[in-house]
Amino acid sequence: MKANVWAGRNRLEIQDVPDPQILNARDAIVRVTSTAICGSDLHLVDGYIPTVKKGDVLGHEFMGEVVEVGPGVRNLHVADRVVVPFPIACGACFACQDGLYSVCENSNPNAGMAEKLMGHAPAGIFGYSHMLGGFPGGQAEYVRVPFADVGPIKIEDDLPDEKVLFLSDIFPTGFMGAEMCDIKPGQTIAIWGAGPVGQLAAASAFLLGADRVIVIDRFPYRLRRVQRTGAEVLNYEEVNVLEALRDMTGGRGPDACIDAVGMEAHHPTPAIYAYDRTKQAARMETERPYVLREAIMACRNGGVVSVIGVYGGFVDKFPMGTVMNRSLTIRTGQCHVQRYIEPLLDRIRAGEIDPSFVISHRMPLSEAPRGFELFKHKQDECNKVVLTP
């Protein structure tokens, strides 16, 4: 089969690889009908996530049709249409039973490796480095889905792929980012990053009752797109974000701040950008944490900083004094997709939201490397690429 393969830093190739097969009783094989390029894939391509190996099949946002099930899978059958959550979760461990699926204690066969880097191991993730399991991803014609009886959700009505595909990752991720803010009516939420996740976080914040949502980015086309959700926007290359947020909130600051950017953030001041960029290039730190720093500084006293942007390792100059002295709460996590997928599907069915508004480009899987180019360099107003095998 054809698959999009990591061939070295900033090198992707469509390669012929073997078809996946059932390895465990609770596996299913899914024929991918739609898959997407996610912003967090860019950190892999750029080589900032440790333990990525040449030959790894990428992709963690996908859906498709079940073509084979192992003897342990009773709730799925051949020809079922499913959306597959990006974290792999067993459903039986303490974490899964607590709804913390992305830190499942059983689904990462390389837990020892992850422990060395992170202290404890998170769950396995499709196509997201060996530290997170070494599972082939979904930018391929077929995928093996472990614990297929736990994660995937059946799509039984005629909703098109485009409306439900993002239940796999970015919609629940954006939603969880907003949910972690404990939004109460009348509140103002600031979101850094107007990419697809930031856009869906903005839409989710309104769904959850936010009064105002302010989104910060530097690309006018992305800011225009997020305005469709009803959000106000700030271009950080044109205004001082901290001052602008202070002015917009009567000096108090937003009630909660969402970091939907993560480790490869940009900074308008060349000297500051160069400092972290150099340290990162020399592999002395893995992150460029401007958004995190700024979100912490901007947040009102006693507010919440919700981090859904991906971080890979270690942060330099983290303003812990601010966090402590101003009673801030930091909430984070890879999305516990399995927890949200059913209720969010209901919201799509009920017409409360249609996440397909983020799509800007559609192309065949064979053009995945070009899709990555467009998305990475924000060419052609690229916002979200959907690939069809």
Partner: protein, 297 residues
């Protein structure tokens, strides 16, 4: 402790020597009688860099004494250079080279003593301990383990366990060339609480183990705690296994326990295409790419 303090002192010596070599390479070469050689100052600077590296190792390491071997290696190099220099020179230069040679020989002896003591410290029986919490009732977890023939389902290096009677069993271990067999006997047992065993004397390796089962904190699940001890010959075997499989016995036990948890909680050992044979932390570089495996795995 004394050895480590000794090693740290050597580290400070390295720092001083390194600084001297880098700051005043000409003075150093004159002192050693090699100031007439072309490129002598460059060599002196390189030696200075090497000394700073030793200093970093000896002053930065948790158990610095073992790193004294790095100094011994450096000393040997210097002895060679100075020996040749003394042989090829006459007069005052020869005298200075010989004096330097003598001094370096003395330092080498000190370094070697320190390094030997540092290595000796790590001998003795090897003890390994690991624990894990399993989301299942204690009885169930205990019974699965007590049926020793279940052990190979999660201990990857075990080929098979055959029970001979209530207390005795035969364990077959996967070897690189041939399988190793040994007999083990249960020496203590409290149903639902603990199992202790040791290898039967005269059947090869001397190991002993204890696994205990207790209720998890808050009454949730079961804590499984494993302690293993490898005697003198067993230590060697453990080291050999570690070399072959690329992992420390400690890591091996932790990984085995993780697989035990997987089997108890999910009914299977989780496999990914990147590490289809199970997980081996230190072998991460040898992992296959994360792409489907051709043919039956």
């Amino acid at each position: 402790m004394m050895t480590d303090r000794f090693a740290r002192a050597l580290g400070w010596t390295s720092l001083a020597l390194g600084a001297a070599h880098l700051a005043a390479p000409r003075a150093v070469t004159r002192l050693c009688g090699v100031d007439d050689a072309p490129g002598a100052t460059t060599v002196a600077r390189l030696v200075g860099g090497r000394e700073l590296l030793h200093a970093a190792l000896l002053l930065g390491a948790k158990n610095p004494a073992q790193w004294a071997w790095s100094r011994v290696a450096g000393d040997t190099m210097d002895l060679g250079v100075l020996g040749r220099a003394a042989a090829n020179r006459t007069g005052a230069r020869r005298a200075r080279a010989l004096a330097a040679l003598g001094a370096v020989a003395g330092i080498t002896a000190l370094d070697a003593v320190c390094a030997r003591r540092g290595s000796a410290k790590t001998k003795g029986p090897l003890q390994v301990r690991a624990s894990i919490i399993i989301n299942k009732p204690r009885e169930e977890v205990y019974h699965f383990w007590r049926d020793l023939e279940n052990l190979p389902s999660f201990m990857v290096h075990l080929d098979s366990v055959r029970t001979i009677n209530q207390r005795r069993s035969r364990w077959k271990v996967k070897g690189p060339f041939a399988d190793l067999e040994r007999e083990a006997e249960i020496i203590d047992e409290r149903a639902g609480d603990l199992i202790a065993w040791r290898s039967v004397p005269g059947t090869g390796v001397s190991t002993a183990g204890l696994v205990s089962f207790t209720d998890g904190p808050g009454g949730r699940g079961t804590v499984v705690d494993v302690s293993l001890e490898y005697g003198a010959p067993g230590r060697k075997l453990a080291a050999a296994v570690a070399r072959i499989f690329g992992e420390h016995p400690k890591q091996q036990v932790r990984d085995d326990l993780r697989r035990f948890k997987q089997v108890m909680e999910t009914g299977e050992v989780v496999r990914s295409e990147g590490s289809p044979e199970g997980h081996r932390a230190l072998r991460q570089l040898h992992q296959r790419p994360a792409q489907p495996i051709g043919g039956r795995a």
